[in-house]
């Protein structure tokens, strides 16, 4: 795995470091383009239908909304963040300045909101804090995000795939965490026939979890994502590919949209869309946990799909 990619600072709308990394990695290998929103697209080529594979480069973040007179920071969430999971987390700003999230509200746990939390950056007055951060600055959680592990998988696939049955495009998209935004202009540019989103998804095989998605359970093939039913023919292609090549897979149906697939499905001229996910325990916290086995399964599944199906 390309671990340095996970350590980059890339909150929504501030993904330049991750986009640079990807463009740099692909230099001399393929021609990349970066659109106005910041997403990177690469056209590998080949004959056949247009197939676009996409992984997002951003990660959820905290946007500073207020600095108080004692140097404490208030924030809003850029992306889906659970206030309970944020408490006591370390957060990191673009220039490596660190802080931690605390809560001092006298409330029941279930009533705690993001607006009850604050960040301590060890500044003791507004002046001191303003030397380190400004309102509108972003901070990420823990300083490492597995959100981008799917980008690593795509980069490895670009390296490894020599021939395919498709006209291949890869996209590394911005602003997924805040509402699947970066993918829209990409779809309008590429106009794919087939779209595959590669993303991480919460593994809930923990105490009091529903255990629908299991860590070490293999690549997750999404059947339904939010209000969208993903392409049944692609799902069955993936099922067959997994069976033929003994790739371990699990199936899932998401109540709320988790991947870019539904957005891509009906954008521009429309496409057949699928989503393959890697399970992550404690997603979007400082303690994200993954299994190499699932990463391998997702990568192998897609590789066989591209070259065989």
């Amino acid at each position: 795995m390309k671990n340095d990619l996970q350590k980059l600072f890339a909150p929504p709308a501030c993904e330049t470091a991750a986009a640079d990394y990807i463009e740099n990695y692909l230099k001399n290998k393929a021609e990349t383009t970066r659109d106005a929103m910041g997403s990177v697209t690469v056209h590998i080529g080949g004959s056949g239908k247009k197939l676009l594979l996409s992984a997002h480069i951003d990660e959820p973040a905290l946007m500073i909304t207020h600095i108080d007179e004692n140097g404490f920071l208030r924030f809003a969430a850029a992306g889906q963040l659970n206030p309970i999971e944020l408490i006591n987390s370390k957060v990191v700003f673009s220039d490596k300045i660190c802080g931690a999230v605390f809560c001092n509200a006298e409330k029941n746990v279930s009533e705690i909101k993001i607006s009850d939390l604050f960040i301590d950056i060890n500044a003791h007055s507004r002046d001191e804090a303003e030397k380190l951060v400004s309102e509108g600055d972003m901070a990420v959680i823990g300083g490492r995000s597995l959100s981008r592990l799917c980008c690593s998988i795509l980069l490895e696939l670009i390296d490894e795939i020599k021939a395919s049955n498709y006209d291949l495009y890869f996209a590394f998209t911005v602003q997924k965490e805040v509402g699947f935004r970066g993918i829209m202009p990409v779809i309008n540019s590429v106009m794919p026939d087939i779209f595959i989103a590669l993303d991480t998804v919460k593994a809930d095989d923990i105490p009091c979890g529903k255990s629908e998605i299991k860590l070490k359970g293999g690549a997750v093939i999404a059947v339904k994502d939010g209000r969208s039913v993903l392409s049944p023919s692609l799902v069955s292609d993936f099922r067959e590919t997994a069976f033929k090549n003994s790739v371990s897979v699990q199936y899932a149906s998401f109540n709320e949209q988790q991947t870019e697939a539904p957005t891509a499905q009906c954008a521009a001229g429309g496409s057949k869309a699928a989503a393959i996910c890697v399970p992550v325990r404690y997603l979007n916290t400082a303690n994200e946990t993954i299994s190499e086995k699932d990463i391998y399964a997702a990568k192998t599944l897609i590789k066989h799909f591209i070259t065989e199906a």
Partner: protein, 337 residues
């Protein structure tokens, strides 16, 4: 100018009156003006360079209501067009339909209400508009189902440089765009979009952006202002009098960082006051514009506006002036980003 703009009767989907005012005002200053199929005005002014396209957007619609029924007693049932808080409605003056019939939003008199009624919010569906007639037949002569309704509230300047009017969201933006067309010497080809139907889901701007395909888009808005003692300090999202507001993040978009930093730099260099919006809430046309076509770089800049979506929105002239001068500067120097 702002008086003429805020007095116009133009809820979402019924923007004819404001559209006519704007077109009459800007025609001498544009190279071309087009009204698209949805009703957006797209005004074009040639720039020093045609290398890139710069778009500015202000929505010209306002929140209002629509007549949904008439009672036997000649009162009007109604529903909202855009998001309006039920709590502010009782007793407010409105204007109904093409005949501009005056009306009052009425509720059960306090003398006859039960304590539990007084302690809860009365829902819009339990209010009726009184237009001063006594029978359904009389009411039907001046109003019908589907008629639009607007707040009845005149423009007034008060206190130390404050303005009160309805629809300041987003007629302040409209006024800024008109001034940009009149006075700016734009760096790139400039498209001023006066968009329709923002209040019911940012629909017009998405269409206009797909027609124009801009490289940069500046969204000029009236935004949430909470600066009274009711609000804890860290939740006072903007304050009237503190300058132009940059919306770094709202529900549907994030500011392009290069564009944001450029605007801050211009403001600093020219002594224009600005503030960062202290919330991720609220929404504006940027969300639809940035993902239209192949995407574009957006920045939303706003005048803080107290009591949004009410008959008495309040802004400070200072903030209006800050947004106006910064918007003109941005259009003239956008090529320096």
């Amino acid at each position: 100018m702002l008086k003429k703009l805020t007095d116009a009767f133009s809820p979402s989907g019924y923007e004819d009156e404001i559209r006519e005012i704007i077109i009459n005002e800007i025609t001498p200053f544009c190279d071309s003006i087009e009204t698209d199929n949805m009703g957006n005005i797209i005004a074009f002014k040639k720039g020093k360079s045609s290398k890139k396209k710069f778009m500015a957007d202000a929505h010209m619609d306002e929140v209002g209501f629509i007549v949904t029924g008439i009672t036997e007693g000649g009162r009007l049932k109604f529903d909202e067009v855009g998001g309006i808080d039920d709590r502010i409605l009782p007793g407010k003056r409105v204007i109904v339909g093409e005949k501009r019939v005056p009306g009052i939003i009425g509720i059960n008199p306090v003398h006859l209400s039960y304590p539990e009624e007084r302690n809860s919010v009365i829902k819009m569906r339990d209010m009726l508009i009184d237009i001063g007639v006594s029978t359904k037949k009389e009411a039907e002569m001046v109003a019908e189902k589907g008629d639009y309704i607007c707040f009845d509230s005149e423009y007034k300047e008060f206190g130390d440089g404050f303005i009160k009017a309805k629809a300041l969201d987003d007629r302040v933006g409209v006024a800024v765009l008109i001034d940009m067309l009149k006075t700016a010497n734009p760096a790139y080809d400039f498209y001023a979009v006066f968009s329709v139907q923002e209040e019911i889901g940012c629909r017009g701007a998405a269409v206009a952006a797909n027609i124009i395909k801009p490289d940069y888009a500046l969204i000029v808005e009236g935004t949430i202002c909470a600066d009274s003692a009711f609000t804890p300090i860290h939740r006072r999202v903007t304050a009237a009098g503190n300058g132009a507001v940059f919306s770094v993040m709202e529900r549907s978009s994030l500011a392009n960082r290069d564009f944001l930093n450029f605007a801050k730099k211009l403001a600093d260099e020219n002594g224009i006051a600005y503030q960062i919006k202290r919330t991720g809430n609220g929404g504006n046309n940027a969300g639809r514009i940035q993902v239209a076509g192949k995407g574009c770089k957006t920045l939303a800049m706003a005048v803080p506006c107290r009591y949004l979506h009410s008959p008495a929105c309040v802004i400070s002239k200072k903030d209006f002036e800050a947004v106006r001068s910064l918007a003109i500067l941005i259009s003239e120097r956008i090529d320096e980003i």
